[in-house]
Symmetry: C2
DNA sequence: CCGACTTTGTGCATCGGTTCACAAAGGGAT
DNA sequence: ATCCCTTTGTGAACCGATGCACAAAGTCGG
């Protein structure tokens, strides 16, 4: 590579960004198994995508492959990690320590690469003060203070639906611009804030739709038996 | 296509299907608040989308609005529910009763409309036999039997990554064709099987990417204070 | 050093989805 | 009954993403 000094286009397609973590995971697996280089074809299979798409995705980060050979696994891991911002570590706060919040706090893959659960916050006096996954649960009144003190830049909302918007507003007010929302509500946020939503019931409903189609066929009995 | 007798085109765009649950949720809220009719503009705002998109989405189900007035809330709820297959009830099995599986089993919104957690399955003898969310946890050896006995048609995978593919193969072998996968692996399944993936760490990585761009700008300080 | 072979990177056609903008359709007032 | 006002439903332009197919670029054996 010659002038590879500034490969980042500053304009990576959203669809590509969403797939990079997938490639990264596949590459990590390969690195662990001692694979040194990989072709776009093999990596594509491992990531469950088509190889042309994979090559185009990677081409957005720069020209990191060698024609006739493939990609060097370690190097590609580094480049993708870097592009995704995983070379620094991100402090994450989880707000809402119900069943889901607890599960997230204990979730291994969460904490693994680049991310660190730095704070747990809840409103219920019953759980405030408890230690979960080695962390003290702090009171929601302390929300702003905790976020600043721990340098939190990503907030995970695992609160009940009714509380989500309020918490959201508060964390935005102290400068948080990235939110992962598990509460089943549409959050209203300024343009500059990034919200990603994970909604279990929506996923189920989409599955049900397709399942119904498959089961039903041309004419289905809607009859209860 | 003239004969509008069969408004369902049998070809609803995937993007539309993914938004219908959103509209449905907004409509349920309105119905509870006693709203009788709603314009595409208002519903769009409530669902967080653009009104033209909403109208086009709804037009795929049929012509259920009244020009100059809007949509009748109750009626629209029914039509969307019907289209999504929520008028019947779906038996869901959760495989893997770790932190996440437990959270899912207890998740209210899960069980609410159309879905019913019908079985919990795990491999750990420690938890088999426990009662969680009113359900007995059954042993993974019973997987096939349980699925058949309870009429499960949707399986939620909340197992460790290493176990997911095996469980997946087994449930497919007994006829399951809809899977919601929380394990961080790419499942390999036949064409006919529908897999949706929820991956917490991928969502975080996407957020980190954007956060980095925002924070970083041209040259960023990675300094921890 | 050359020629055959492999695999990348990408131009181009295509496709699905989004958005605009407006004619058609209905309600309500006069 | 007629006209005006509101809001739907959709044709058409646009935009981003996908996938094909191939030239360019590199490796490796002889």
């Amino acid at each position: 590579m010659k002038s590879a000094s500034q490969p980042r286009d500053r304009g990576i397609p959203e669809a590509t960004v969403a797939r990079l973590p997938l490639y990264l995971r596949a590459l990590h697996g390969m690195a662990e198994r001692g694979v040194a280089t990989v072709s776009s074809e093999d990596l594509a299979v491992a990531a469950g995508v088509n190889s042309a798409k994979l090559r185009k995705d990677l081409s957005h980060l720069g020209s990191y492959g060698t024609r006739g050979v493939g990609y060097e696994v370690e190097y590609l891991v580094y480049q993708i990690s870097r592009e995704l911002g995983l070379t620094q570590d991100w402090a994450v706060a989880i707000v809402g320590v119900g069943n889901l919040g607890r599960a997230l706090a204990n979730y291994g893959g969460f904490v693994s690469r680049g991310f660190r659960v730095a704070a747990l916050v809840d409103a219920d006096p019953e759980v405030v003060g408890d230690t979960i996954a080695g962390l003290n649960v702090e009171h929601i009144d302390e929300l702003e203070a905790v976020i600043k003190r721990r340098g939190v830049s990503i907030v995970v909302l695992a609160t009940p639906a009714a509380a989500a918007q309020k918490v959201c507003d508060r964390v935005i007010a102290v400068g948080v611009t990235s939110i992962l929302n598990f509460a089943p509500v549409v959050l209203s946020v300024p343009e500059s804030v990034d919200v990603r939503k994970v909604d279990l019931s929506i996923e189920l409903q989409i599955l049900a739709f397709h399942e119904q189609r498959k089961a039903g066929g041309p004419l289905m009995a809607v009859d209860g038996q």
